[in-house]
């Protein structure tokens, strides 16, 4: 058992491309950390640097207090689950699981016992004599997990392990990985581009973009208080609605054609351009109740998906405004709807840096539909 410390790590490829720039992260012992971000954000590179499959250009990575920069992957006491499983195709499942233990000269009896424990845990005990090609994707995935588990390493590394599975299996394996990780209490780093997977698995969620950490925290922290526009739009589906606008004279007004969005009273925010963010689930259909953002919007289309209906409305810019309505909602294209989002559900971002400004309170705003304050 060991925590991981990443201290000022950089990765520069020979062609000059900087995949990771000065990244620091502390992963406490026993925690499951999920690295999430769009492709090319450096999350896999970081994982592979922890594994020892990529060299570290600068900085230190330590596992359990031991700097591992110059250690071979085999000496780092880690196990990794690959996206394509990377099972040894010519070996039976037993041999696949035993390979790492044999390389470490584990006694035969112990190998047998540990392999059996692992396959029991994963429910693949009946497959021990099979070869990888005789198994389904889900079974292979379990074997890949088993290969990590038998080694009893101090760190598990997962590189998009579920992306080759179908949707149903993915949910099932996701739950299983979480359960196993809880049970084994092994420090884990999990890389994915799927934000749903990231949200459900993570103790700590790390959103990466362009080789940097955008924000790290619990999934709910990142959901409720995204630190940047990037995190705000990356976490949550459908993504947060972003309304570029201007604060002037104590009011927020959307840029250009308001498309039915009312100016909103806003105090305590410096004049100038800002971006206002509001999640689809916080934009309610109905009249304004208290302070917040309100407007009357033109429905473009609606997508009923059972438990809820996504309503697409004409927004001020080119992107539609999306709002999440009840499953039974019957908004048709062409309808006009009154929408409202309470002030404490709104997010303000700096237009230049994309960084979040302090969250709004009801005190800062008055009912937008009410009389405008006398200046």
């Amino acid at each position: 058992m060991a925590g991981i410390t990443i201290d000022g790590v950089r990765k520069v490829y020979p062609n000059g491309f900087q995949a990771i720039e000065d990244l620091s992260l502390n992963i406490p012992d026993g925690e499951l950390v999920v690295l999430v971000g769009p492709s090319g954000c450096g999350k896999s590179t970081l994982l592979r640097m922890i594994a020892g499959l990529e060299t570290i250009s600068d900085g230190d990575i330590s596992i359990g207090g031991r700097i591992v920069n110059r250690l071979e992957p085999g000496e780092r006491d880690i196990a990794m689950v690959f996206q394509n499983y990377a099972l040894y195709p010519h070996m039976t499942i037993f041999d696949n699981l035993a390979y790492g233990l044999r390389n470490r000269k584990t006694p035969k009896a112990e190998i047998k016992q540990r392999v059996e424990e692992a396959v029991q845990m994963l429910g693949i005990a009946h497959l021990l004599d099979r070869k990888p090609r005789q198994m389904s994707g889900g079974q292979r995935q379990r074997v890949a997990m088993g290969r990590a588990i038998v080694r009893e390493p101090s760190v598990f590394l997962f590189d998009e392990p579920l992306s080759n599975l179908d949707a149903k299996l993915r949910v099932q394996m996701r739950v299983e990985i979480k359960r196993l990780q809880r049970q084994l209490k092994t420090t884990s780093v999990y890389v994915t581009h799927d934000q749903l997977e990231a949200m459900t698995l993570a103790d700590t969620l790390v959103v990466m973009n362009a080789g940097r950490i955008e924000q790290a925290g619990t999934p709910m922290e990142l959901y409720s208080n995204p630190a940047t526009v990037f995190v705000a739009t990356f976490i949550g589906s459908p993504a947060m609605n972003m309304l570029p606008g201007i604060v002037a004279d104590g009011f927020f007004r959307v840029e250009g054609d308001a498309a039915g969005i009312q100016p909103m009273s806003l105090r305590g925010v410096a004049n100038g351009p800002v971006i206002l963010g509001v999640r689809p689930e916080h934009l309610q259909v109905g009249p304004a109740i208290g302070a917040g953002l309100s407007g009357r919007l033109h429905v473009i289309s609606s997508e009923p998906i059972g438990a809820e209906t996504l309503v697409y409305c004409e927004g001020p810019g080119s992107d539609p405004l999306i709002l999440r309505a009840a499953g039974e909602a019957t908004h048709r294209p062409g309808d006009m709807v009154d929408v409202f989002a309470p002030a404490d559900r709104l997010h303000l971002f700096d237009t230049e840096t994309g960084e979040a400004k302090p969250r709004l309170t009801a005190v800062q705003t008055v009912m937008a539909t009410g009389p405008q304050p006398v200046t």
Binding site: L53, Q83, A86, K131
Partner: protein, 294 residues
């Protein structure tokens, strides 16, 4: 992959297009092979003026001739050694070339070049290198106390044709081994590295087993090459000598037929060789088309 289907306007055009290849095959392969089979049942008199049907007498004589068995022995040693040498070296080169990051194409091109050299030229080249009076390789061997003389020492002669024949085959093997290596997913190596296997252990426990289909295919191809395709190498270097030390089967066919003028006996040898090629081809299709499974 979907290939485009070509439609010809005239029925005879496709046949016309196939004709050159068919003609070459017919004139240079099928016809001589048929002639050899026919001739193996006849005996020609010393002046080449009369033919006499002798049934299986040529074969009987062949299989009671100790020099034929000696030739088989020489051929087997030669084929095994050539294949082993060519395959080991090419696997080594492929493994190294696979890891190279910079200048990959240059290395690969150089390694493929020998394949373009004619067998006779390759033979002469190695003969000069190992020539006892002017050859630099022979000179180097002499420096370390090895007396290399292919014209008087049977072992030297054998070594010379093995090296010359193997050298030419390395390029071909290299290509296949390299392709085989590149077909192994990187993540499998990485998984093995994480599982604590060093490069050598990885090679023997992961790479070699995964290459087994390629290795088996190349073994058959190399054996066929060494048995049947190395006439020019022998002819240009040792000419079967000293004595019969390097008189491999294909060389013996030619020597008995065109030097010894025993056309019937030579034809019988050809027929035996043909049967061997056929057998090897069957093995190749049977087992390789199915892909060795792991």
């Amino acid at each position: 992959m979907q290939t485009k289907r070509v439609t010809f306007r005239h029925v005879w055009l496709p046949y016309l297009l196939c004709l050159p290849q068919l003609a070459v095959t017919l004139i240079f392969f099928i016809w001589p092979a048929g002639e050899a089979i026919v001739e193996s049942f006849y005996q020609t008199n010393a002046f080449g003026t009369s033919l006499r049907f002798v049934g299986l007498a040529n074969f009987q004589r062949l299989f009671s001739d100790p020099s034929y068995y000696a030739s088989i022995r020489v051929s087997v040693i030669f084929a095994l050694a050539t294949s082993a040498l060519a395959m080991t070296l090419s696997l080594l080169f492929a493994a190294v070339a696979d890891r190279i990051v910079r200048g990959t194409n240059a290395y690969r091109t150089f390694l493929i070049w020998p394949y373009a050299v004619a067998p006779a030229v390759a033979g002469v080249l190695w003969m000069f290198l190992f020539n006892p009076s002017i050859g630099i390789a022979a000179y180097a061997l002499e420096m370390v106390g090895i007396d290399f003389n292919a014209t008087i020492s049977p072992n030297s002669a054998m070594a010379l044709i093995i090296v010359a024949a193997a050298w030419k085959q390395i390029s071909y093997n290299f290509l296949f081994f390299l392709a085989g290596l590149q077909a192994i997913p990187n993540s499998v190596y990485e998984a093995a590295a994480i599982d604590g296997a060093g490069p050598v252990k990885r090679f023997f426990t992961i790479v070699l087993p995964l290459l087994s289909p390629t290795t088996f295919f190349l073994l058959v191809v190399n054996m066929v090459y060494a048995f049947f395709d190395t006439f020019a190498v022998v002819h240009a270097t040792t000419q079967g000598g000293p004595g019969q030390a390097t008189s491999i089967l294909v060389y013996k066919v030619w020597k008995d037929g065109f030097v010894g003028l025993d056309l019937g006996g030579s034809a019988a040898q050809s027929v035996v060789l043909m049967a061997m090629v056929a057998a090897l081809t069957v093995i190749q299709f049977r087992y390789i088309e199915r892909r060795v499974e792991y």
